[in-house]
Symmetry: C2
Subunit: 349 residues, 2 copies
């Protein structure tokens, strides 16, 4: 490490503005503005003069002034609970890409699992004059009204788009993967390859978890299981300790399949089977959910459900653009994903 302490020479040169360009190129600021925005008519000769002056001075318009006259800065706020979660991280990735392609910039806020700061985060984003709000995950639509009233209020000012969450409110648009159906398909797969007593392992109780549980229950009923045979287990504490929990359950009432609410949990389940000396998929079948990278990193590739995040995010953009143009757009839209067969389930015969 060379110089450990360095004072900066602050760059105090006044930033060049539209008046400088106007003066240098001998035209009015209105014309400069037209050139910058490719709006209205400008003669080629004038345009060139202006462009030259802009180039020479490295001029770029002041974003605030621009935002002020245009009353938009083409910023979209992204709200999530935890950007470290693989599902959310991937959404952020695709959203940011699509937004950039459409000329928007993404402003990110992570509210934390408890949504305690949701209210503050929403008003922060609004005070930054975002043009719209995109919320990742069904968490934002769950629980009592208190949880999402901040969103409803925000929707008063800008369009709000919910990814994988449902909220029937004015100016809120929802794009949802049919997780109920997805979990139905996975359950069917497991039952039709011979599992008799599957377990459903669920995490934090979000609306999307509820959908998955419903899909599991529905499918089990259709296969003739009575309610007491339909086992839904909420995950206690963290992933690190779930092995013990599964062990206790297994010793009391053995199971032969574990349907998990996401890939992370499925990894934990797989770890349990390895430690317990249970063969996968021969003795126990395991499924994940989300089709994330995680499902491909374990010793066995995990059977999972691809909920098409790239599609989800592109739809969000479509919704956003439609609403901005005051075109109509479905307030709710539901799409399906697809099963990705892996090595933790058996072949259908």
């Amino acid at each position: 490490m060379p110089d450990v302490l360095t004072e900066q020479s602050p760059d105090d040169s006044r930033k060049v503005n539209i008046y400088d360009i106007s003066r240098e190129s001998g035209v009015s600021i209105a014309t400069v503005s037209r050139v910058m925005n490719n709006s209205g008519y400008v003669s080629d000769k004038t345009r060139k003069k202006v462009l030259d002056a802009i180039e020479r001075n490295g001029y770029s318009p002041n974003a605030f002034a621009r935002g002020m006259s245009r009353s938009t800065m083409s910023i979209v706020g992204i709200l999530c609970s935890d950007s470290r979660d693989p599902y959310q991280a991937e959404c952020i990735y695709w959203l940011q890409k699509d937004l950039a392609a459409a000329g928007y910039t993404a402003m990110l806020c992570c509210t934390g699992e408890d949504l305690k700061t949701l209210e503050g985060d929403v008003s922060l984003l609004l005070s930054r004059s975002v043009d719209a709000l995109i919320c990742i995950g069904s968490g934002f639509a769950g629980g009592s009204e208190k949880n999402w009233e901040a969103l409803v209020r925000a929707a008063d000012k800008v369009p709000v788009i919910l990814l994988n969450g449902e909220l029937e409110q004015k100016n809120i648009y929802c794009i949802v993967c049919d997780d109920e159906k997805g979990m139905e398909e996975l359950t069917t797969l497991v039952l039709e390859t011979g599992s008799k007593s599957p377990l459903f392992l669920t995490g934090a109780p979000s609306p999307s978890s509820q959908d998955k549980i419903r899909g599991f229950q529905k499918c089990m009923k259709e296969h003739g299981y009575s309610s007491e045979k339909i086992r839904v287990i909420p995950l206690e504490t963290t992933l690190d300790t779930m092995g013990d929990q599964l062990k206790r359950i297994y010793e009391k009432h053995p199971f032969d399949a574990i349907l998990c609410c996401d890939d992370q949990t499925a990894l934990g389940a797989l770890k349990f089977t390895e430690q317990a000396g249970l063969k996968v998929p021969e003795q126990i079948q395991i499924t994940g959910y989300n089709g994330s990278l995680l499902s491909r990193l374990s010793s066995l590739q995990i059977t999972t459900y691809d909920n098409r995040l790239p599609y989800l995010c592109s739809q969000a953009l479509l919704a956003l653009q439609a609403v901005m143009k005051r075109q109509s757009f479905p307030r709710q839209s539901l799409y399906t994903g697809q099963v990705i067969p892996g090595q933790t389930t058996r072949q259908a015969s």
Copy 2:
């Protein structure tokens, strides 16, 4: 899904501004401004009147106008190559938290691995009038000048902070985890617990990879290995196919330890050993890097290196705030992480 097509009733009520509040509370806009900003003197009585009017009208100042007069909007741009990468995702998470706590908002840009869009992304962020730029990952500081010249140019306008990358340039501040030392420690651990022929598995050639390689080589030399015995293997293609690659190598020249450049790669290595029927850690020791959640999700908890991302990010904030206040701050700072022992290495005797 109820209503599939819903037209919005556009909210066309003019937004309330400072003049409205001024009129309603019977004071000048200057006073309203003072109340809003808690600046200057305002009598309690006046303050109350103003506050009431603000409350009644749900007034919040226009961000552009504010930005224009203050010439800052308290936005910090975050640049990364891929927000889905666990390391980067975690940095984003902590940065965003710290920034929010300090009154800044995070604006996110993912440039993609090839940095092809770096130039465009940087000017996009600058045109949004960010107050500073934070770059995640050594990728931004690597390779030829072409890779990072956009950053150098950006540093002309706003402070640039590099997380885990080194660039000796004006107005660029670097905070770096000592990965060379980290990899040295892991190599030492593996050698001193009996491994004789370790392998170093590296991914994309970033500066940080180089540091790790250097640490590995240095430690090997110190333990008396000649250069031809020091094996550094670049990962071919994706993680999915790395099993085959390791198999080929193992058959030709067996190894008894795999030191990986990150946790993800370590998971892949672990998968290889399981498929090849090699016992970990008895026959083969494995180490990861980053101390990410991944290291705890596999059948065996992976020995890894905690590079203290929360600390890294908090330092970034400190740097940013110091520079903004024109205080001096070390242009480069280096810190150490720590080994997290897991089940993929043996106990030191």
